[in-house]
């Protein structure tokens, strides 16, 4: 390669040889996503994709919430004829599947896609094209599920789709296939993001960010990503063998042919229980980030919190059987799972106590994000305690599959995950958009959501004890559940009003919110060291980290590392434990091929619902789009 060609010189230019203004200009040129349709479809910028992911996930939250309101309208009175049995069964199946697979898991990953690279001080996420692919495939899975529902083909077998009800004999039509294939879409996107996060955290941390200086949200996402990588294969197995049973007549789950009905449940819950922690651990990371910022001091017990995250992650794989306590498994085995289910309360306790100690020794400021943390405390602790109840085999024989359990898991999922998430949106919104959300509306949102939630869900504990099973489309007047159900349904309107106000605030603030400074909360972690919103290249120079809260330790500008080429998408690769600089690595450019691959994969997966040959013929276009994706571009390091 000739060394006199001017454009090569421009590409090879090192950041320290440029003035700050020239550097910014050159980096923006290198990293920017063109504001064209092609740019929009081909971008590999983790912030654009992360934002897109967050918005999409919240749209699915709204849709799932509408389903919940429809169910509450039906249950408001006994023998209500508003919704038919068939539609109701689709409603709760859609609600559960949508909230778990299209909202809760993706939204946590979405926040991580946006924030993790910023929090570890790098220019882009690892495998940015895979990241783009993961978004498109997630969107396709969501559209598949909702299109099926609108065509009256929505799955109607519950979000865990137990066989034989979902199997070839009893699950008529294509409803269960659509459910199982939607799972495949979300598996793909979740696994892709998990791999990106692990590599980003292990190899792209800013120099000096040793393992003991990683922000706790990043730690929580690292543990979550490992959970995804270890748990997803079980659901791949479950949904794939379900499709095989239905499509090509295998008998994995047919007891008449030597299959086993409970095998499905084991596979499902070996994924399904860690799934709960896949949703919960990121929320814990958010709390561990918000609490120190507003308590105005570093978190108490950093090491204990990290170990609690890891312990929760490991224990999460040892308690799936508590979803199967009444299937008739041997009592001794069940007792083991009672003990392990109770044991997971210990790491949760450690985290609660450390946050309390942080506040105790800090000077807490009750800004909106902190209000959501307080709402989280009151509801999550209660949900955790009812979790201890359902962990007990004998108690579970009463409350399993009743409204008590419905109350319990909404306490841990909404109280434990959605409240911190809403706090996190208020907290990071200025970073995402450059504008603040409204403190005044935020207080109303927190109040309405907290009060509405508790009024709507607390009585469900009592309904369950009073005999109401879950997943019933109606009940008879003589059961005496009418009053409580009406109360719950009316309260759900308060909760919905809180969410509505939240979305109004988010939309309004995007345009009219007060301008945000780089670090409006005076927080300590790296994402606040860059502009709000961050430039396409994240940081002009890669910061060097000397403590767990670099912005609190260095009240002035951070020390930086130099030596990256400004004319190429280069980032710094560091060692796993100590984050010592190791190498300069090129980050891929924008490409349309991840979208093409997602499209061809979507065609193959949907086609395979109807014919097994889709797997054969549908692979050919996927192969072609992958060739496009990985085609060598002739950049210097590729030739070296």
């Amino acid at each position: 390669m000739s060394e006199t060609r001017p454009e090569i010189e421009a590409i090879e230019v090192i950041d320290r040889d440029l003035s700050p203004e020239a550097l910014e200009q050159r980096l923006a040129q290198t990293w920017a996503t063109p504001r064209t349709l092609y740019g929009w479809l081909a971008t590999a910028d983790h912030k654009i994709i992360g934002r897109r992911y967050i918005v999409t996930a919240f749209v699915f939250l709204i849709l799932g919430g509408v389903l919940a309101l429809a169910m509450r309208a039906q249950l408001a009175g006994p023998e209500n004829r508003l919704v038919s049995a068939d539609l109701y069964n689709q409603l709760f199946t859609m609600h559960g599947s949508n909230m778990m697979f299209l909202f809760a898991v993706p939204v946590m990953e979405a926040v991580a896609v946006y924030l993790v690279p910023l929090m570890v001080g790098t220019r882009n996420i690892a495998f940015p094209r895979l990241n783009a692919f993961s978004y498109w495939i997630y969107l396709a899975g969501g559209l598949l599920l909702w299109a099926a529902f609108l065509l009256q083909m929505g799955p109607d077998v519950g979000w865990f789709a137990y066989v034989p009800l979902s199997g070839p004999q009893y699950g008529a039509g294509k409803r269960s296939d659509i459910w199982a294939q939607m799972i495949t879409f979300t598996e793909l996107s979740a696994l892709a993001v998990a791999v990106e996060i692990v590599v980003t955290v292990f190899k792209q941390r800013a120099p000096g960010m040793t393992l003991a200086r990683i922000p706790l949200f990043v730690w929580s996402m690292l543990v979550t990503s490992f959970l995804i990588i270890l748990a997803m294969p079980a659901i791949v197995m479950a949904s794939t063998s379900l499709i095989l049973d239905r499509l090509v007549g295998t008998h994995f789950f047919n007891p008449a042919e030597g299959g086993d009905v409970l095998l499905y449940q084991h596979l499902f819950w070996f994924f399904g229980h860690p799934e709960v922690y896949i949703i919960f651990l990121p929320a814990v990371g958010m709390v561990s980030t918000i609490v120190p910022t507003f308590a105005r001091r570093p978190v108490f017990g950093y090491l204990a919190l990290v170990l609690a995250l890891i312990a929760t992650g490991i224990l999460a794989f040892t308690l799936w059987v508590h979803h199967m306590f009444v299937t008739g498994l041997p009592r001794v085995g069940e007792s083991f799972f009672t003990a392990s289910s109770m044991a997971i309360a210990v790491p949760s306790g450690i985290q609660i106590f450390c946050w309390l100690a942080t506040m105790w020794h800090g000077r807490p400021v009750l800004a909106t994000p902190m209000l959501f943390v307080l709402a989280f405390f009151a509801t999550f602790v209660l949900g955790g305690l009812t979790g201890v109840m359902v962990a007990s085999v004998p108690l579970d024989t009463q409350v399993h599959d009743t409204y008590f359990v419905v109350a319990h898991f909404h306490y841990v999922l909404i109280g434990g995950a959605v409240f911190p998430l809403m706090g996190a949106i208020y907290y990071w919104y200025p970073k995402f958009t450059g504008r603040m959300m409204s403190e005044r509306l935020g207080r109303w949102v927190a109040g309405l959501v907290f009060v509405g939630f508790n009024l709507a869900f607390f009585p469900m504990h009592l309904l369950g004890l009073a005999g109401m099973p879950r997943r019933v489309y109606t009940y008879q007047p003589e059961m005496g559940w009418g009053g409580a159900n009406l109360f719950v349904s009316l309260s759900s309107v308060i909760l919905a009003a809180g969410f509505l106000l939240f979305f109004i605030d988010a939309l309004r603030s995007a345009r009219y919110g007060a301008r945000a400074a780089d670090n409006p909360w005076d927080a300590g972690t790296l994402e606040w060291a860059t502009a709000s919103p961050p430039p396409s290249y994240n940081f002009g120079h890669i910061p060097v980290v000397t403590s767990a809260n670099p912005l609190w330790e260095e009240r002035g500008p951070l020390p930086v590392a130099t030596g990256l080429r400004a004319g190429r998408r280069e980032l710094l690769v560091t060692t796993v434990a100590e984050a010592q600089p190791e190498a300069r690595e090129t980050s891929p450019r924008n490409s349309i091929w991840p979208l093409m691959t997602a499209l061809t994969t979507t065609v193959m997966l949907i086609w395979s619902i109807f014919s097994p040959w889709a797997v054969v013929w549908g692979s050919i276009p996927i192969g072609i789009s992958l060739i496009g994706w990985f085609w060598p571009k002739g950049t210097p390091e590729d030739e070296a």
Partner: protein, 331 residues
């Protein structure tokens, strides 16, 4: 404080009822209820304690600080000890609850001498009940309703005919699934007479909401009287209308699925009708048993319980009247 009081008040009607986990009528469910109160008490105490600490932590410092504080300030050692103690206390409480849970489980496993043996087969969306006995002539089949003698243990074998169902009888026992390819059982004893309602607790398809059953606990003498009646074949028609009804039931589509012992109707796919009118409810807990309900059900089962497996058979009003007269005579 958060309106929970209102929720409690609204629920009082449902808490002590014929399908309630907190209104036990036997030793097994009472055992579960005691355990529930233990867990509930401990949980309430823990929750209140955490909230108190949180409130104090928030109120301790009046003046918010602008600059971030540095760790290592005074009193942090004390907090480290407090956190460790709290974690240790959590572990101890959990061990205690686990032991309590084990003890309750082993009490559940205990079974009385010579229990009454019943086999329950779950269908979409009804229950076939078979009273088992070493003597074949003392075995009989009924549906959606169990009679049990007060004070004697009952063991129910649980079998699934199609998909997974779950037997839940909260006043007397917890629940246990009916799983295809697997034999499960559950045992319980009623120590006071009464009518207890149970319901399928595992989602089993379209009419999962309407898959209930009744357990009627009665003094042993009453139970024996009931059993000897059930062992009899169906009563003969007493007038011409009932006779016409019998002709229709045994000759028409009914007999393909239903059985009426002592007649030509020997179907096994649907509830046994030999003593159908002796049961308290029709269609798995959906309609109180009256001649009117029987007529309504035969005339239009798909409106009353959409999607159930009983087809609507077109019948003239005369025929419908004779069928309902006959069925209502099957005490």
């Amino acid at each position: 404080m958060r309106g929970f009081g209102a929720g409690f008040a609204l629920l009082c009607a449902g808490c002590s009822g014929w399908q309630s986990a907190i209104d036990p009528a036997g030793p097994e469910s009472r055992n579960l209820q005691h355990l529930l109160w233990l867990f509930f008490g401990v949980s309430a105490a823990v929750w209140v304690l955490v909230m108190l600490v949180l409130a104090v932590a928030l109120m301790r410092r009046a003046a918010p600080s602008t600059a971030p504080l540095r760790p290592g300030s005074r009193g942090e050692r004390g907090s480290a000890i407090a956190v460790s103690a709290a974690v240790a206390a959590t572990a101890i409480v959990l061990v205690g609850l686990t032991v309590g849970s084990y003890r309750a489980t082993s009490a559940l496993g205990a079974r009385g001498d010579e229990p009454l043996m019943v086999r329950l087969r779950g269908y979409q969306w009804w229950w076939e009940v078979t009273y088992l006995d070493p003597l074949p002539e003392r075995v009989f089949v009924t549906a959606n309703e169990l009679h049990i003698p007060v004070g004697r243990a009952v063991t129910v074998d649980l079998v699934a005919a199609d998909v997974i169902h779950s037997f839940w009888l909260p006043n007397l026992a917890g629940k246990q699934d009916l799983v295809p390819g697997r034999d499960n059982r559950i045992s319980f004893t009623a120590d006071r007479p009464g009518i207890y309602r149970g319901q399928c607790a595992e989602f089993c398809g379209l009419q999962h909401a309407h898959m209930s059953f009744f357990v009627i606990a009665e003094p042993p003498a009453d139970f024996e009287r009931w059993r000897s009646t059930q062992l009899q074949p169906a009563v003969a028609p007493m007038d011409t209308e009932q006779e016409a009804g019998q002709q229709l039931v045994t000759g028409k589509a009914c007999a393909a699925c239903h059985a009426v012992r002592g007649t030509g109707a020997v179907g096994t796919l649907a509830p046994d009708l030999t003593h159908v009118a002796s049961r308290t409810y029709l269609a798995a807990g959906l309609l109180p048993m009256t001649r009117g309900s029987l007529a309504a059900w035969v005339a239009d089962p798909q409106t009353i319980k959409p999607g159930n497996n009983m087809p609507a058979v077109p019948l003239s009003s005369d025929k419908l009247r004779s069928i309902s007269a006959y069925l209502a005579s099957l005490k």
